[in-house]
Symmetry: C2
Subunit: 98 residues, 2 copies
């Protein structure tokens, strides 16, 4: 292996180690988020509140787009991933009442 | 509003405030992750390395499933969301070389 290849390998390795740590943050944060939405889902089912709240969801998506922009994250990607998470949450809320 | 409804509203509000804070963590963590994958993508394009690395991706997915299980997050959901992020990363890596 040349000196240059070793240097590239080292830089790649450092980035990958950061990515792996960030992925652990993502997983644990998502787990914490689902704990809260699970409690919300139970509360809504117990008190016969509707599983989805379009006004709250629109507010969330608009806020997350602003945050994404501020953080330098592609807002289109942010919307896609947040939409994906919210959809999963609503799917689970529906399950509580069926 | 009855006392009971007020109590339910307060609990919902607390959960939603936590969810909103966790969403900010998710957005900023994703932004940090994309900064690293952007650097990896550039490095790979500069040195003519392949944009995707199936062995690394398989390792990542297996690790994240273990982490998800440990964190109490549905491993199926974790796989879906991580797959979604990795796909987006590869799509962007390809863009650097075109």
């Amino acid at each position: 292996m040349t000196e240059k290849n070793k240097r590239i390998g080292d830089i790649l390795k450092e980035h990958r180690e950061s990515i792996d740590r960030l992925d652990a943050i993502l997983i644990y944060t998502l787990a914490e988020r689902f704990q809260h939405t699970k409690n919300v889902g139970r509360l809504k089912a117990e008190h016969d509140l509707p599983p989805s709240d379009p006004e709250r969801e629109a507010w969330q998506i608009a806020r997350l787009q602003r945050l994404a922009e501020r953080a330098g994250l592609d807002p289109e990607f942010a919307t896609k991933i947040i939409g994906f998470i919210i959809e999963e949450v609503i799917r689970r809320h529906r399950k509580y009442r069926s």
